[in-house]
Structure formats: structure tokens, C-alpha cells
Symmetry: C2
């Protein structure tokens, strides 16, 4: 059995360092007493503890269909070319294509390397860090009043006062309602001066989540987890700079409870990629 406090210590420890696949050098005695003997990728953090992820009955698809009709961040249509290799229509007996597609469009993951030259590429994000406790912050109301709204520390604290402190191994997702705007110009809200307008995370909120909570990933139903008008992208710089991943263009967060669901992010395991289109589910 683990000593009191061990589980929390190991979770904090792993959450900071499992991302880089580091061995548990800092607290070997504590870790070995909890039977963490294999790599972080598939090993349970606490073999003797109760299950950490709950049973579920419902699967919510957090993924938009990705096609050239999905708007790219650069303001153009996304590039998704499927070049025919085999075709039943021409008598090959099979259908098969060669893909050429934009890495950061549709519902997609930002790997740390997207913004952080020393960060990991997407295939190195361990499986364990892609299955997390999903916490959904509803910012629809302030985002309706101000489309450049950034989720504040106060928003987070209001969520915690209703739903309890963020659980360990969390993914914090912003539900702004922007997923419903995807096919329209309002999704990016580009103005006369070429400035984008949509909500995101405030840098102070990101800092608090990095320093004072055990959060592995951020998610947003907008095109970026920084808000539209930014020019220096502080949320990306802070979050990916700390070797954490994020999800953008999430769909259907409104079908998920604020707390209690599990997010499973099918990030591509493509060597050297900086992120990429992902199939993402919430298990409720």
C-alpha cells in the first residue's frame, strides 16, 4: 500500500515529468513503494488504489469533420487533398488515397514543439497524458458580450466553488459556443484591419493552472486557445513552453457535464509532427 499522501505526490510528480518520459529520479523511494515500475506510458500510477477513471455509458464526439470547407487559421480554406491511388469505380477492387493536409486545422492537437523549439513532437506525448479528467468552463455568457473575452482566474475560481477543486490529471476546456460558428465568418471574426476576434484563455489563468493545479492539457472550441486579437500568443508560449499539449477547434463541449467526464484524445502518432488532426471523445 502507498503511504498517506503518496498517490498525490506521485501524480504531481508524473504530471510534470511523464511528458518527457523521464524516469522517476526525484522520488524513487516513494515511487517504488507505489509499484510504478514500468514506463509512464502504460503503467498505473497507483496499482493498489481504486480506479481513477469512472465507468461510462455515453461517448460524445468532440471532433469536427475535417474538410476543405473547414476554415484555416490563415483565413483560407484548409488544405485536404485526397489523391486517388486505388478506386472501385475504375475497377481496382479497393478505394485508397494519398493525403496532403494542413497539420493545424480541424479539431487538432498542438504538441509542445509547435511553439517550443525544445518541446516534444506529437508522437512523444505518452498515451497516459492523452486520457484525462475533463473539466468544462462555460464562458458563453461573457463571450457573447465580448467576443475577445479571455477566461479569467475568477472564472476558474467560480467553477471550483461550484464543482470543487480541479481534479489531478485534468484537461481544462473552454466552452464558448464558438463551435456552432465554424462554417461562418464569425468563427474567426476577422475585421476590416485583418484582426481576428474570438475568445480564449487569459495568460494569468494559464499561469495559475501551470503553477497551482495539476493540469495536463488545455482545450478550446475556438481556433486557438489564445484569444483572436493576440499578436504574441502568451497562452501558447506559456503552456507549450511548459511541455504541455492543447486541443483546438473542439466540438460539442456543450454535451459534456462540467465535471466527471473523461477526455480521450486520439492525437496522431506521426514522427516529427508538431500536432495534427485528432479524433477526440468524451466518455460520460
Amino acid at each position: 500500500m502507498c503511504v498517506p499522501g503518496c498517490r498525490e505526490a506521485v501524480e504531481r510528480n508524473l504530471s510534470r515529468r511523464a511528458f518527457l518520459g523521464a524516469a522517476c529520479a526525484a522520488a524513487p523511494a516513494v515511487v517504488s513503494s507505489c509499484a510504478v515500475t514500468r514506463g509512464a506510458e502504460s503503467a498505473p500510477a497507483e496499482a493498489h488504489e481504486p480506479p481513477r477513471f469512472p465507468a461510462f455509458t455515453r461517448v460524445v464526439d468532440l471532433t469536427h469533420t475535417y474538410s476543405s470547407r473547414f476554415p484555416h487559421f490563415n483565413g483560407k480554406p484548409s488544405r485536404v487533398d485526397l489523391q486517388t491511388v486505388l478506386s472501385t469505380e475504375r475497377g481496382d477492387g479497393w478505394n485508397m488515397t494519398l493525403w496532403t493536409l494542413d497539420e493545424h486545422a480541424g479539431t487538432h492537437v498542438d504538441a509542445p514543439y509547435h511553439r517550443n523549439a525544445k518541446g516534444v513532437t506529437v508522437e512523444k506525448i505518452p498515451a497516459r497524458d492523452l486520457v484525462l479528467r475533463l473539466c468544462v468552463l462555460d464562458i458563453r455568457e461573457p463571450a457573447r458580450r465580448d467576443r475577445d473575452y479571455r477566461a479569467t482566474v475568477e472564472d476558474l475560481k467560480a467553477w471550483e466553488s461550484r464543482h470543487g477543486r480541479l481534479p489531478p490529471r485534468a484537461c481544462v476546456a473552454l466552452w464558448s459556443g464558438w463551435d456552432a460558428k465554424v462554417p461562418t465568418p464569425e468563427f474567426f471574426g476577422i475585421d476590416d484591419k485583418g484582426v481576428r476576434h474570438f475568445p480564449g484563455f487569459h495568460a494569468e489563468t494559464v499561469e495559475l493552472l501551470l503553477k497551482e493545479r495539476d493540469v495536463v492539457a488545455l482545450a478550446a472550441d475556438t481556433a486557438s486557445f489564445d484569444h483572436g486579437p493576440t499578436t504574441d500568443f502568451p497562452a501558447h508560449t506559456l503552456w507549450l513552453g511548459a511541455d504541455r499539449w492543447a486541443l483546438e477547434n473542439a466540438a460539442n463541449l456543450g454535451e459534456v457535464p462540467p465535471r466527471g467526464a473523461t477526455i480521450v484524445c486520439g492525437a496522431p502518432r506521426i514522427e516529427g509532427a508538431t500536432g495534427g488532426p485528432s479524433r477526440v471523445f468524451a466518455l460520460v
Copy 2:
């Protein structure tokens, strides 16, 4: 509350038809009594029933890393070109690429349309059909004796005599041990005449699974769920012909129990694709 037998009836009904997104026309009274009022994609089949998927503590990555070193079915290296769009090294502040890659290589899904001109493309496979009860058939021993081995009806019945009848909403996976051969020529086992040699499913087993069990997906740790020497691919023709999906080149099935895990298949949601590289987990 559902009437007795309703849950099973709805499950059978949905499992056959949810794939095509069909409305529940055949048994509307039964379905509405179970509160299936929304699309199959995110609605619970039985809102008042106990959870269908168990709690879990461990995440096993069933995905190989996909790179040009991963052998393609055509005997050449897989094509995975990541063309630089933005680069921190050259001062852009970001890393981003444009992908060109083979659709059916690495750990990947075959959508029905891959073999079946009337079958659905990959983005139309509902989320609900990508989260299933994982049943692992260990065929390592017969596959060691005969690398062209095909899993038989007797293998399936032996599994059931040990672990119980296949549960509803199952994914049946062949664990041949072939995932360990990936980087070597033995993975395809191509002989002097150009014939491939690796294990797969026997067509009779596929027929039984289609007709007498409630199986949504097949999986294999080989390059194809038909065995290597086939020229007519009967397992593909039957299975994809029945509008079901399959997973090929699965990894790490040996880390999953024969029964009790949940498979979550992050199939790409790319419009018109015939399948594609997927991130796949087992929740144990």
C-alpha cells in the same frame, strides 16, 4: 425504465444499423421507451441501465509510431513527408508542417468504403462505434508453427469456453505477436515469388462473427486482417462489405487482458477518406 430485454434489443438494433446513421425505424416503440431520442453518435442506448463500460486505471497505447521506416503493404517504405511551413529554427516563432502521407499504413483503420463501394467513408463511422469491448484472441502458438495461420471458429470457441461468450458491442483482436516484427522483413514475410506470409482471420470465423455475434470491429497486429498469401481477401470482402470497420497494424495487444478492456479508436474524421492512421488505446 426499459422493459425486460429492451436493452439487448436496442443494442442489437443499433449495432447493425447505427453505422449508417439510420433512424431507429424498425422498433420505434421499444427505442423511445429506452429514451434513445438523439442520434446514435452521442446518445446512450440505455439511459437507465447500469454503465456498460467499466472504470479503468491504465491506458495501453495500441499505436505504432508512424514514419517512413514503417513498411507499407506494397513492400516499399511508407510515405510520410512533413513539409516545413513554419520553423522556429529559421525564426518564425512556430513549427508547422504540411503532411503528405499514405492512408493505409502504420496503425490504421479500414473504413467500409476501402473495399465496399457502397460502404461509408471514415468520417461517417459514429463515435459510438469506435468505443467497444475489446476481446483479444491469442494465436501466437499456432502462428509460430504456421506463419500463414488463419484464426478459426475453433479458436473463437476455445476463447469463449475460457472467457465466456463474446460480449455485445465487441471488437475482436488477433494477437499473433507480429507487432514485434514491424521493423524486420519478417513482418510481411515476402518470399521469392513475391507472396506475403503472415497470419489473419479465416473467412469462416468472420462469417460466424457477422451472423452469430454482436461484433462491431475486427483488429489485428499484422498488416492485414486477411492472412498474407490471400489473393481475394475474403475477410475484407465480408467484413467491410457488411459496413463494419477494422484496425490493422495494432501494437501492444499483449499488454491487454483477453477480456474486460475497452478499445477507443481515434479514427481520423477526414471527409471522404477510406480509413487512415489512427491513435488507438485500450483502457484497462
